[in-house]
Symmetry: C2
Subunit: 153 residues, 2 copies
Amino acid sequence: MEGLDNTDKTILRILQRDSKKTAKEIANLLNLTVSPIYERIKRLESKGYIKKYVAIVNNKLIDLPITAYCQVSLKSHDESFIDKFENQIINLKEVQECYHMAGQIDFLLKINMRSLEEYHDFIRYKLSKIDNIGILNSTFSLKVIKHTSELYL
Amino acid sequence: MEGLDNTDKTILRILQRDSKKTAKEIANLLNLTVSPIYERIKRLESKGYIKKYVAIVNNKLIDLPITAYCQVSLKSHDESFIDKFENQIINLKEVQECYHMAGQIDFLLKINMRSLEEYHDFIRYKLSKIDNIGILNSTFSLKVIKHTSELYL
DNA sequence: TCTGAAACGCACTGCCC
DNA sequence: GGGCAGTGCGTTTCAGA
């Protein structure tokens, strides 16, 4: 399962926080030269441990201050209906995350919006247009207490 | 509110997908030279539109296959109790996200785990140890339908 | 697996339009 | 606002231990 030693884990921890850190800086922190750091990073990328490098954008500054979580349950649970629902959700740009859940509700959606009015329009004219939706329940984030893309290791 | 023209937005879209794209590559895509791209990126960083650059790590490969959403409601809603709860949550490494929510439940937590057994231990020996927790309700992601750090613009 | 050195390309600066 | 040229630095490669 894990082909990672402590050096690899430290590199992952650092790059999860700041992917602009240079191989040289990381090398200094670990008392190594750039070559091994470079090779380890390349290995972590090619083996899939690092999926990608991204810029994290401030949602408030680009006028997407509303974060909603939307619980959805389907009316029919035939495989074809579920597939259809999932395919339509994937193509909605407002939906940042969607999970098929265990328990009473089928799906949990994280949705970014400019305003509650736009959220209303989204629910009414986009989500509700998707066939087979039974229950639909929305809650809103009042404040972000913690939000990171980092995984602990 | 928005000091972004279409060029800026395109740059943000690109860097949200792949922050390793060079200014040269972006310049070619936009039929510009590197100088304006470089300056725009620096501006986007200094103005806070780009919060940071991070590596996205594969949670399965580092043995964190379980994603749980945990709904928490507090017993007392005094300001001091809420502050205390939030401060304790921030320091839990297993908690990747925590939002103060509108509606019946107070907080929504996203939690990464190695196994359901570890999740049990986490709930029992860490979360429940936090004072003032009333309702505590967990659901698990069976499958990720969609998950991106990108915001649309 | 690490060190060290060499080659290349990009980030970054300054000056031009 | 964008283009062009130069410098330093980081990335990338490779020989050797």
